[in-house]
C-alpha cells in the first residue's frame, strides 16, 4: 500500500468518524448508503454487506461499530489460525485468507475503519427464534464480563454483544462449545470463552441468549425497537 493511499484512507476514516452518528446508530437505510467507503474496503462490503452491516445470505456478521481493539484481536486471530481453519466453520474459512495478507499496520487501520463505521440496523427477517425471558436469565452469567446491557468491557477484552445479529452470536457460541473456536493452543481469549460456554448444555439455551441480546439491540422494522423508522413509501405490486 502506498503512502498516498494510506493518507487517503486516513482522511476517509476521519471523514466517516466525523459523520458517524454513534457506534450503533440506526441511520435511515437509504441515507446511510449515501457515503462511500475507501476502495480498499469495498471488498469487505462484498460479504459483510454495505457499510459492513452484515449479510445473513453469506453468514457474514455485522461488524460496523465493533470496538477497534476487538476487531484487531479477531483479525490477528485469523492470521494466527485461531479461527477459520476447520471445515465446520465455512464462513471463517472464507475470512481467513483475507486477514492473513494484512500487515500489522493494515490490521490497525482496518480495525479503526470498522469501529468508526455506522450501519443501519438489519431487518428483523433473519432474527433468531428464542425465549427472551429464558435468555435474560441465562445471560446473567455472561453479564459479568460482557456487561449487563451487553455493552462489553474492554478491561477484560469482552466485546459488546449488541452489534452482531443473533444468528451470528448463536453460531459462535456453538462453535466455542464444540471446540470449533477457542480450541487452538495459544488462543487464550478464545479458550476463556470456550470454558464459559460449557454451561450451555442445550442448543435452546444458546438461541435464548442470542434472542435476548437481539432484543437489547433492536431491529429496523420491529415494533419494540425504539430506533427511528425509515420513512420510505413502498409500492407493492398487487393484482
Amino acid at each position: 500500500m502506498t503512502r498516498k493511499s494510506l493518507q487517503h484512507m486516513a482522511q476517509a476514516v476521519a471523514f466517516v468518524w466525523l459523520t458517524a452518528t454513534g457506534l450503533v446508530a440506526a441511520a435511515d437505510s437509504v441515507d446511510s448508503t449515501r457515503q462511500t467507503v475507501p476502495a480498499a474496503y469495498q471488498a469487505c462490503e462484498v460479504c459483510h454487506g454495505v457499510r459492513l452491516g452484515g449479510n445473513y445470505g453469506v453468514r457474514a456478521p455485522r461488524i460496523s461499530g465493533l470496538p477497534a481493539w476487538y476487531v484487531e484481536n479477531q483479525l490477528e486471530g485469523f492470521k494466527h489460525n485461531f479461527r477459520g481453519q476447520l471445515p465446520e466453520d465455512s464462513a471463517g474459512l472464507e475470512m481467513q485468507p483475507i486477514a492473513a495478507q494484512l500487515n500489522p499496520g493494515e490490521v490497525s487501520e482496518a480495525a479503526a475503519f470498522v469501529s468508526h463505521l455506522s450501519s443501519p440496523l438489519p431487518p428483523d427477517v433473519f432474527r433468531i427464534q428464542g425465549n427472551v425471558q429464558s435468555g435474560e436469565h441465562l445471560y446473567t452469567s455472561c453479564a459479568v464480563c460482557h456487561g449487563d446491557q451487553g455493552q462489553g468491557n474492554p478491561a477484560v477484552e469482552a466485546p459488546p454483544l449488541t452489534i452482531q445479529d443473533g444468528w451470528y452470536l448463536a453460531t459462535q457460541l456453538r462453535h466455542f462449545r464444540e471446540g470449533i473456536r477457542g480450541a487452538v493452543p495459544g488462543d487464550l481469549r478464545g479458550a476463556q470463552m470456550r470454558a464459559a460456554t460449557r454451561v450451555l448444555s442445550e442448543d435452546q439455551n444458546i438461541d435464548d441468549i442470542a434472542a435476548y441480546l437481539e432484543q437489547l439491540r433492536g431491529f429496523r422494522n420491529s415494533p419494540e425497537s425504539d430506533r427511528p423508522q425509515p420513512d420510505i413509501s413502498t409500492t407493492r405490486h398487487q393484482p
Binding site: S29, V30, S32, T33, R34, Q35, T36, V37, P38, A39, Q42, A43, E45, V46, C47, H48, G49, V50, G53, G54, N55, Y56, G57, V58, A60, Q85, P87, S90, L93, E94, Q96, P97, I98, A100, Q101, P120, P123, D124, V125, F126, N221, P230, I232, S233, T234, T235, R236, H237, Q238, P239
Partner: protein, 526 residues
C-alpha cells in the same frame, strides 16, 4: 395511482383461486411457460417515442440478454456491473488475465495463443438449449463440437481395482455385460412376477444379448466394445479379459458418472464457442449500445412509487439512478447485504437458498500427452477431491493444450480446495492426478484455480435449490416485487447454466413487456 394489469397479475388471481396447478396450466395457455424444448423468445413490443428506463444490475448473461433485447425495442438501459469485467460466471481465462478471488488474486501465465484458454464457468452448449443456440446463431458466434465423453479416458477409484485407473470403455462394457447375463438367467428361470409370453421372452433375451454383447449361450465373456487386447487389424483380435464385477460394484463410478453422458444436458451433441465461451459475452457487448458501467458496486435498492432507485459507488463517488423498472441479477445471497426496502417475505426468500461452490483448476501442458493415449476430449473421473480431469476438444495435434485439472461438484471438495492457497491447490491437484497419469507433473507449465465460492462480487456459483426450498420460495422470487425483478440462473430450474439465465431473463421481459404495454394503453388496475 394507476397500475397496469399484467399477465402476471392475472396469474396471481388464478393462483389465489385455483392453486399452482391452475397457474401452471394457464401459464402455458398464455405462453408464459414454454413447452419443453421450444424456443421461448420474448418479442418485446417497440416503445416508439414513450421513454422507459430500465436499470439492469449485473452484466452476466441474464443482464446482457435484457439490455440487448430492451434497447432494440427502444428502452433506455443502464447496466451496472460490480466487477472489473463483463460476463459474470461466463469467464474465459487467458494469458495475463486476472482472477479476482477475494484474498488470493491470481494472474494467468498461460502462453498467449488462441488455443490456450480455460472456460472457468460454462463450457458446454447442449443443442437443445434453444435460447443460447439462438443467440449464437444470430450473432454468428462460431461453434465447434465439444467432446463430453471419451470412452478411452479413465475411471480411477481408490476403493476399486487396487486404485489403478481403468478405461471407461472397459468399465461400461463389462458392467453392461454382467448385468445382461444375470438378467438373461432370470428370464430363463421365469423369475419375474408376471410371466412373459414365449415371444416376449425371446425378444427380451435378444435385447439382453445386444445390450450386453453376450455370447451364443447368453453369457458375458468379454466384448470387442472394451477394445482388443492384441490384434484386430492385420492379425486376429484377442479380447481383453473381463473386469471383476465385484470391483466394478466397489467403485462409485456407477452412481452417476457412468451415466454422465445420458443426462439431458450432458448427452451428445454438445458444443463450445470456438476460442472460448466468452465469445458469447462478446457477441452481446459488440451489439449493446447502452452504457455498461463496470466496477460499479450497488449500495442500495429502493422501491418507490412507479420507480426503482439504485445507489452505487463508482470510482470513489456515489451515484444515484432512477428507473421505471429494475432487472436485478445480483446473487441473492449478496443482495441480502445491500440496503433495500423490500418486504420481509421477499428478503426471507432471498436469504433462504444456499450457494454452490463449484471449483475448477486448469493447467497448461507443454505436450498433449493424452492424445498418445488415444484420448481426444472427454473426462477422466476419480473419487479423489479433484473429481474430474478434462481433455480439450479443440487444438487437436497442436503442441500444447489446457487441461482441466479439477472440477468439483461436491461442496465439501470445493470448500477443501478453497481453504488452500492457489499454490497448494495446484500441488494437491497434481498429486491426485498422478494416480491417473503418473507423468502428469512433468508436462505442467502453469496453472490457475477458480473457486466460485470466493470470487469477488459473486461468492458462490449455482443456487442450491431443493424441492422443499422451491415449494416455499421459488415463485416468490420469480414474481416481481413492485417494479423490481430478480433475474439470472438463480431464479430458474437450470441453476449454473446459461440457458437458465437466458430463460429467466426472457421470463421477466415477457412480464415487463405486458406491463409496459398496459401502461401505454392506460389500462387501470381493477
Amino acid at each position: 395511482m394507476k397500475q397496469p394489469f399484467s399477465r402476471r397479475d392475472f396469474l396471481n388471481l388464478i393462483g389465489a383461486a385455483g392453486g399452482s396447478a391452475a397457474v401452471y396450466q394457464s401459464s402455458i395457455a398464455l405462453g408464459l411457460i414454454p413447452a419443453a424444448g421450444a424456443l421461448s423468445l420474448t418479442r418485446l413490443e417497440p416503445l416508439h417515442k414513450t421513454p422507459r428506463r430500465v436499470l439492469i444490475l449485473g452484466a452476466g448473461i441474464s443482464g446482457l440478454v435484457c439490455a440487448y433485447e430492451l434497447e432494440r425495442a427502444g428502452y433506455e438501459c443502464v447496466v451496472l456491473e460490480a466487477s472489473h469485467r463483463i460476463g459474470g460466471r461466463n469467464m474465459t481465462v487467458r494469458h495475463g488475465d486476472t482472477i479476482d478471488e477475494l484474498g488470493h488474486a491470481q494472474t494467468c501465465h498461460f502462453d498467449r495463443h488462441p488455443n490456450l484458454y480455460f472456460n472457468a464457468g460454462p463450457a458446454r452448449i447442449p443443442a437443445h438449449h434453444k435460447l443460447l443456440v439462438h443467440y449464437c446463431k444470430t450473432f454468428q458466434i462460431p461453434l465447434e463440437v465439444f467432446v463430453n465423453e471419451d470412452r478411452n479416458a479413465w475411471v480411477q477409484d481408490s476403493n476399486a481395482f487396487g486404485g489403478k485407473p481403468v478405461r471407461i470403455r472397459e468399465y461400461i462394457t463389462d458392467a453392461r455385460g454382467f448385468i445382461a447375463e444375470m438378467l438373461s438367467k432370470a428370464v430363463n428361470r421365469d423369475e419375474f412376477d408376471a410371466p412373459f409370453s414365449d415371444l416376449d421372452k425371446e425378444k427380451l433375451l435378444e435385447f439382453l444379448h445386444a445390450f450386453g454383447d453376450l455370447n451364443e449361450n447368453n453369457l458375458y465373456r468379454g466384448s470387442i466394445r472394451a477394445g482388443y487386447k492384441t490384434g484386430g487389424m492385420v492379425a486376429h483380435g484377442t479380447l481383453k479379459g473381463t473386469l471383476d464385477f465385484s470391483e466394478i460394484l466397489k467403485s462409485d463410478f456407477w452412481r452417476f458418472r457412468m451415466h454422465w453422458a445420458e443426462q439431458e444436458d450432458q448427452a451428445a451433441p454438445l458444443m463450445q464457442a470456438v476460442g472460448g465461451m466468452d465469445n458469447i459475452v462478446k457477441g452481446f457487448t459488440d451489439r449493446i449500445r447502452s452504457p455498461i458501467i463496470t466496477s460499479a458496486q450497488v449500495r442500495g435498492v429502493t422501491l418507490q412509487n412507479n420507480q426503482v432507485q439504485v445507489i452505487y459507488q463508482h470510482k470513489g463517488k456515489l451515484h444515484s439512478l432512477n428507473g421505471d423498472y429494475c432487472l436485478n441479477s445480483i446473487p441473492k445471497h449478496l443482495l441480502t447485504g445491500i440496503p433495500n426496502n423490500f418486504p420481509n417475505d421477499y428478503i426471507e426468500a432471498l436469504g433462504a437458498v444456499p450457494r454452490g461452490k463449484l471449483f475448477k483448476i486448469a493447467f497448461q501442458m507443454k505436450q498433449r500427452f493424452w492424445e498418445d493415449d488415444a484420448i481426444y476430449g472427454g473426462i477422466s473421473w476419480t473419487n479423489q477431491p479433484i473429481e474430474q480431469i478434462w481433455y480439450p476438444s479443440h487444438g487437436i495435434h497442436s503442441t500444447k493444450g489446457i487441461m482441466l485439472g479439477a472440477y468439483t461438484f461436491d461442496k465439501k471438495h470445493g470448500e477443501y480446495f478453497e481453504r488452500l492457497t492457489p499454490a497448494q491447490r495446484l500441488e494437491e491437484a497434481i498429486r491426485q492426478a498422478e494416480h491417473i497419469h503418473p507423468d502428469y507433473r512433468g508436462y505442467i507449465e502453469s496453472g490457475v484455480s477458480v473457486p466460485w465460492g470466493r470470487m469477488n462480487h459473486l461468492m458462490g456459483c449455482n443456487a442450491l435449490w431443493t424441492d422443499e426450498l422451491r415449494a416455499r420460495y421459488f415463485n416468490r422470487l420469480q414474481q416481481p416485487e413492485g417494479r423490481h425483478y430478480l433475474i439470472g440462473d438463480q431464479v430458474s430450474y437450470h441453476a449454473g447454466w446459461e440457458e437458465g439465465a437466458m430463460s429467466s431473463a426472457h421470463f421477466a421481459l415477457a412480464d415487463l413487456n405486458q406491463r409496459v404495454q398496459a401502461e401505454l394503453r392506460g389500462d387501470a388496475i381493477p
